[in-house]
């Protein structure tokens, strides 16, 4: 029996993976996407209420799915999510903030306080919201689109170019790190069998070759830029303006303008509500108020 094999989906490489060409994000101008990142990352700054930030995280999840990002890829951020949680809650457990009137919470041998814990929970959810907004952006955009967005926003050419080179350098740094580790493994080093102290020392030793390679690359790129007539001022041979060929490929459309206005307006509303009336403050959180009442405080 013949089995129908589905045609492979055309994927587009992004900074954190690849996304199908059919992703609706690609219908938007890179500037719209960059403004989207700025707005999405800024919104949690004005929201303290954990429920509201959890709702915001749900919205991000919808955008991940709608943007055709493979959610399985998000698993690699789990260690980061856990590590941040571990250290934040460890600090509030071992060294909680205290002031008179704080409600104590006893957890085994440790005593922490409701007010400290409340702030840590709120901060953690805010950080996660900002982190996943950033992951969403880098999962759906390529370096080229970041540069186009920056240049459309009239960021000086040298600055946008340095951003591009930095993004590239980060990738190359990771690639060099992988090569060095593979070379060690090929010579029989099993880092998983090392004690934590030795492993830490090993990671410290990686820095020497990694920085040496990075310095050599920096020199090579500097020579390559000079050989092709690049100057930091962005000056061109004819003395006229620099024509940005790649940027000219993208056109800002009405939908982009509408979305940008909508996003900026949304951010302004959230900021206004919080600054003006503390709409998203911790004191307004139903969950936290219920917890405080449960602990015997005056919710």
């Amino acid at each position: 029996m013949a089995v129908a094999v589905p045609a492979p989906r055309r994927m587009r490489k992004t900074l954190l993976g690849a996304v199908p060409m059919t992703s609706p994000f690609y219908a938007l101008h890179p500037v719209t996407r960059l403004v989207g990142l700025l707005v999405l990352a800024a919104v949690p700054l004005f929201i303290y209420m954990p429920e509201a930030n959890l709702a915001f995280l749900s919205l991000l999840l919808v955008l991940f799915v709608g943007g055709r990002v493979d959610l399985r890829g998000l698993r690699i951020y789990l260690p980061l999510v856990m590590t941040v949680a571990f250290f934040m809650f460890l600090v509030v457990l071992l060294s909680p903030d205290y002031a008179s009137g704080y409600i104590p919470i006893h957890l085994g041998p440790f005593t922490t306080y409701y007010q400290s814990l409340r702030w840590t929970i709120a901060s953690y959810v805010r950080i996660m919201a900002m982190l996943f907004a950033t992951i969403l952006y880098f999962s759906t955009n390529h370096e080229r689109e970041i540069l186009v967005a920056l240049r459309t926003l009239r960021v000086p050419f040298a600055v946008s170019y340095i951003v591009g080179l930095s993004v590239r350098a980060a990738g190359m740094f990771m690639e060099d790190f992988r090569v060095i580790r593979q070379a060690e493994q090929a010579r029989g080093l099993d880092s998983s069998s090392l004690r934590l102290r030795d492993r830490t020392r090993l990671y410290g030793m990686y820095l020497v070759p990694l920085f040496t390679i990075a310095l050599r690359r920096a020199e090579e790129i500097s020579n390559a830029l000079a050989a092709r007539g690049y100057s930091m001022s962005g000056k061109v041979l004819t003395g006229g303006v620099r024509h940005d060929f790649v940027r000219a490929r993208y056109r800002l459309r009405a939908i982009d303008a509408c979305l940008i206005l909508l996003m900026v307006a949304g951010l302004a509303v959230v900021a206004y509500l919080q600054v003006r009336s503390g709409w998203f403050g911790l004191e307004r959180s139903p969950l936290l108020m219920a917890w405080q009442r449960h602990l015997g405080g005056t919710g």
Partner: protein, 287 residues
């Protein structure tokens, strides 16, 4: 004398010592390269071949620290009086490691980068891209990252990036040193096409076999000294001298040198295949 009559490159009394080095990388170099000439530069490692290209392009001394003496001219103009942009427009340099020269994340952006530096408008850029694509087949690679290409493709892109800027002098530093045999073939095919254009081409290359088929003149660089370039036939006839310098002359030239030593052949050793076939027929007919 008009610009057309001037040599493309004129180096006089040049010595260059890199910072923190006691020995000069180049010493007392006098070299003239004619317009439209294809010059091969050969020599052992660390002999100063790459430094020679950097000097011609003007990267030395503008981007390097060291002690400079002498004068380098590109089409009659002292390179020390030219801006980086003017030098890039006059002499394009392709580095040995193609990855070391990539500055963008897609092939198209990489190609466009130098053209934007020249101040060309969109229409002119498109024309240049078309021209370079006709010479070096690249269009299907435009959307790909230059880092994801094969060695041969990477070097083709690197050459195309420089060619797109349409410099009158093209300097290639060991363009086939980091690629597989198939990639080497691709690059020599590009060089063959370049030979048919009016570009002045200077190639540093270890593969003398392939270079012999292309170069008008060849010069040997040894210990920082650049020997006067010789016509390819005369250069490759000095088989023993080349072997002594640590080089691998073309196989046919070595074979005929051996035949000459055995008294079976008395002409200058051929260094290209077709003349070698005729010479072999002659040897056999006398045998």
């Amino acid at each position: 004398m008009g610009a057309a009559g001037r040599p493309a490159v004129a180096i006089a009394g040049l010595s260059w010592t890199y910072e923190r080095r006691s020995e000069p990388a180049l010493r007392d170099v006098d070299l003239t390269i004619d317009q439209g000439e294809f010059l091969g530069v050969v020599g052992p490692n660390e002999s100063g071949k790459s430094t020679l290209l950097y000097v011609i392009q003007g990267l030395i001394p503008s981007n390097f620290n060291g002690i400079w003496r002498g004068r380098v001219e590109l089409f009659g103009k002292d390179t020390s009086a030219m801006s980086g942009l003017e030098r890039a427009a006059a002499a394009g340099l392709v580095f040995a490691d193609p990855e070391a020269q990539f500055t963008a994340m897609t092939v198209e952006e990489e190609l466009v980068f130098g053209l934007e530096n020249l101040g060309l408008d969109h229409r002119q850029i498109e024309l240049r891209l078309q021209r370079v694509s006709d010479l070096i087949d690249l269009e299907e690679l435009y959307d790909r990252s230059p880092y994801d290409l094969s060695g041969g493709q990477k070097q083709r892109v690197a050459i195309a990036c420089v060619l797109a800027m349409e410099p009158r002098v093209l300097l290639l530093d060991e363009p086939t040193s980091m690629i597989d045999p198939r990639g080497k073939k691709e690059i020599f095919e590009v060089l063959r096409r370049l030979k048919d254009t009016d570009h002045t081409v200077v190639v540093v290359e270890h593969n003398l076999e392939e270079l012999a088929a292309l170069a008008d003149r060849v010069c040997l660089v040894e210990g920082g000294r650049v020997r006067p370039p010789l016509p390819a036939g005369e250069f490759f006839a000095r088989v023993d001298e080349l072997i002594e310098a640590g080089l691998q002359p073309p196989q046919v030239a070595q074979t005929f040198a051996e035949l000459a030593r055995a008294g079976l052949y008395d002409g200058p050793p051929p260094y290209r295949f077709e003349p070698a076939v005729s010479a072999a027929r002659e040897v056999l007919s006398h045998g």
